[in-house]
Amino acid sequence: MAATAWGGRGFRYSLYGALFAAALVYPFVFRQPFPQDLAIKIFLFGGLASAWNVLGGFTGQVSLGNAIFFGVGAYAAAVVQTQWGWTPWAGVLLGMAAAVGIGVLIGYPCFRLKGHYFAMATLVIGEVVSTLFMNWKWVGGAIGVYIPIRDDTWKYYQFGTTKLPYYYVMLAFLVSALVLSAALLRSRMGFYFRAIREDQDAARSLGVPARRYKLAAMGISAALTSVGGSLYAQYVLFIDPHSVFPMMLSIQVVLIAILGGVGTLWGAVVGAVILIPLSEFTRIYIGGTGSGLDLIAYGLLIVVISVIQPRGILGFFRKAGAA
């Protein structure tokens, strides 16, 4: 692709291979819970930011409501267990389907709105959905849902004695998001997404059914985000509207993608590798959750990056367009 400065394909693939191998052995080098937990969060947020990027980065439709899909996935995984005794894996699928449905419902009217208005609409809808869950008794209302604790099991995807399964499953989530994004970028759909982002009217004049493709981007983004939510629910085993529908999560995934490089393949990973440890450490050393100091640190970093390199960190590696 024109936008990479790292020459040969061979070099790129060996780099990916090395990264992947490092990720595979990491939990055997860092055996403590903290570094493993940190990596799991990086994978989760890398995947979520990557999912956001399909809609916000490739297609240019900035959603500030992706927590909706995260929460839907989390609740789907939890509620199928507490209400019906199903495996959470069925909840993963159900969550994806529900997220796609909700995404299309939101997208259909909201894609008529341009730019900032779309972002604002998704932000507001996110808050509305959160409030709905607060008041929905069947899913636990404001109290939330405790997933019943079991012995280590793949069927119910719970492991009390080791983090390794969570680690590898979350890694698989991130890798799937990246592989999907890479495949998208190379396909007609990816070209259409980017054309819509660049100039929707010009794209339509070339036969691109913009609405349909934006809905597709929304569906892909929603489904992926929902999977992240389901996996998160199984990792923490307790969810409530505050923990899985926070506006902060919607904003965090955007910040991660922006910091790394909007619309790029690896930006979400780069952003997560920087921001997640930053927020974890500020939380530990400066103040507890909710003090907002981690957010101030985020904000500062974003300001600094946008001043020196508006295209995000990956922008430093981008070939300047030939003059």
Binding site: A2, R188, R194, A202, R204, S205, L206, G207, V208, A322
Partner: protein, 242 residues
């Protein structure tokens, strides 16, 4: 038999009639020049034909079917491609990728789209810029990207809005030869240009707009002698452009 039929098209913006009851026909394979002073409504008419603006009243038929009322993407799928007067390229995509977006209309294969896009780029003389970001090109190069992009959709009717404005005489000559060559592909064209020395020789017929109305239509030789046209252009000294 008429290929494109513009039937009494009116387009109002608030109180202003940018197009006022315009009717004309274009036959298959024809090159029709669409001229008129600044603000006459030429670009607006293109936008109506291409579905970018809904018409206020009137109808547009193409290849035997009604196209007015369809969205732009559907009209492009029917075989109508247009360029924008002010180039609208996909800035953060490479020139090749820009043209591939057009090429993807007729194939979902990336390889085929790329091959077709490269062929079209060669034809418009932009092969050397294929990998450059579209934003890094000059205005006249961006116009050629737009042309290539439109051409890559394999159109039957091409609407060209001032693709030659701002070119050097040498470039203009090349562009004229290029546009003529499209005819060999069986592409019907409507061409908006301000430079009479350009439009008149390549047009089979010329349609003249002024203040949103069609004031004349005919062979180029007739148009240059037409009283109303001369008045619209010269009498009021409004023809100068750029």
């Amino acid at each position: 038999m008429s290929f494109l039929t513009v039937g009494g098209v009116t387009k109002r913006f608030g109180g202003l009639s940018a197009n006022d009851d315009i009717s004309f026909e274009v036959a298959r394979g024809e090159i029709v020049g669409l001229i008129g002073p600044n603000g006459a409504g030429k670009s607006t008419l293109f936008s109506c034909i291409a579905g970018y603006h809904p018409v206020t009243s009137g109808t547009i038929d193409f290849d035997g079917k009604r196209i007015s009322g369809l969205p732009p993407e559907a009209i492009c799928r029917r075989g109508v491609a247009r360029t924008f007067q002010i180039a609208r390229v996909f800035k953060e995509m490479s020139v090749l990728e820009n043209v591939m977006v057009g090429a993807f209309l007729s194939t979902s294969s990336r390889g085929e789209a790329e091959a077709h896009a490269r062929a079209v780029l060669g034809r418009v003389g932009l092969s050397g810029k294929a990998e450059a970001f579209a934003r890094s090109l000059t205005v006249s190069e961006q116009k050629r990207v737009q042309l290539a992009r439109a051409l890559a959709t394999r159109p039957k009717l091409l609407l060209l809005d001032e693709v030659m404005a701002g070119l050097t005489p040498q470039e203009t000559a090349e562009a004229v030869a290029l546009v003529r060559s499209f005819r060999g592909d069986g592409i019907t064209m409507v061409i908006v240009e301000h430079v009479m020395e350009v439009v008149m020789p390549i047009s089979d017929r010329v349609v003249v707009l002024d203040y949103g109305k069609k004031i004349a239509e005919g062979a180029p030789e007739e148009i240059v002698r037409n009283e109303l046209v001369i008045k619209a252009y010269l009498g009021e000294k409004r023809g100068a452009k750029h």
